[in-house]
Amino acid sequence: MHNFDFVKPATVADAARALSADGAQALSGGQTLLPTMKARLAQPSVIVSLTGISEIKGVCAVDGGVSVGAATPHAVVAAEVGKYYPALAKLAGGIGDPAVRSRGTLGGSLANNDPAACYPSAVLASAAVVHTNKRKIAADDYFQGMFSTALEEGEIITSVTFAIPEKAAYVKFDQPASRFALTGVFVAKHKGGVRVAVTGASNNGVFRWTEAEAALSASFAASAVESLTVSAEDMISDLHGSAAYRANLVKVLTKRAVTAAH
């Protein structure tokens, strides 16, 4: 790892100032960025740790939903969000392993937008709102393809507000070596309709399976998606699974998520 200067501000305003320096990059849990830097795929000259900023940590109830601070570790979401939004807590408790969950955070996961990450599917299926130090971004506008988001240079995610659906579940098919999702599906039944978000499958990153949303909005049962097919075009194909295998998993996991939703 190349060397860098390290700063640990106590407020978002100070962090934003530090991030305006040339070559500065935010560090949250470090569970993605540190391995990336060790591999010399990133070489920031200044690391701005967000772990000392209490205003972007923690979980609280808000009107019609729950707000999670960007620097809240997965383990805290798993332990504290269950009483508001069980499916989200369960997703957080299934990310990686216990040590990854102690450090890794919601904001880091969303900023990175790994095509196999778990949280993006929850944010998209919940129609959540991503709050930054500059603005609010609707989930549908936030994700812009694999490792790509609406965030601007130096913009800091501060929190995410999730609307709580009537029923929801996330079902992940583990890639057993990395423990990421080989494919994962988050199904959320809202008052106004069903949203189905798929991670781990597409070359374009997390996406909504709109045909399934329409079918499940008409009838919220696993059988409702039986006659649908998912195209293997644009699906990820690697040594862990072909594009056709992932396309099939999307449907299988959607059915399982509908059955598990509560």
Partner: protein
């Protein structure tokens, strides 16, 4: 170089680090605590696991400067006050939960973190909790047995597998 301080195994310590110094390197090279092993250095194996402010972390994936001011427990802090093996360590010995011993420090730290929040885990919970700790030798069964034994549960049924 910057001077940082933290508490390690109950003692106040300080040392010189660079921005890029990992907590694992601080423990091993600056403090000479080499019980924390580096298996992969890529966040996969869990051999380097320690507790930071009560949480299980991979010390190869935490910057020393980010841990400054915190409280760390490493494998050197796991023995009883009189120097004898703790219940968890003794269970690993008794149930052959180790062969080469390379993964063992991380396994013991992970076990301690589990039993603190879940004093009587099921076998499935133990296996789920140890997902981030890789062992190349034992095949895991005896490790799981040791963890369950350390929690005071009867492991004779597991021995049958």
């Amino acid at each position: 170089m910057t001077k940082i301080s933290m508490t390690v195994n109950g003692k106040a310590v300080s040392g010189e680090v660079e921005g890029r110094t990992l907590l694992s390197a601080f423990l091993r090279e600056e403090l000479g605590l080499r019980g924390t092993h580096i298996g992969c250095d890529t966040s996969q194996c869990g051999a380097c696991a320690v507790h930071l402010d009560g949480q299980l972390v991979k010390s190869c994936t935490v910057l020393a400067m980010d841990a400054a001011g915190g409280a760390v427990t490493s494998i050197e802090g796991m023995q009883n006050a009189d120097g004898s093996l703790s219940v968890i360590q003794a269970a690993f010995q008794e149930h052959h939960g180790l062969q080469c011993g390379f993964c063992t420090p991380g396994m013991v730290m992970a076990t301690a973190a589990l039993l603190k929040v879940n004093p009587k885990p099921t076998e499935a919970e133990v296996r789920h909790h140890l997902e981030g700790n890789i062992c190349r030798c034992t095949g895991y069964h005896n490790i799981v047995k040791a963890v369950l034994a350390a929690s005071g549960q009867d492991v004779s049924a597991i021995a049958a597998e």
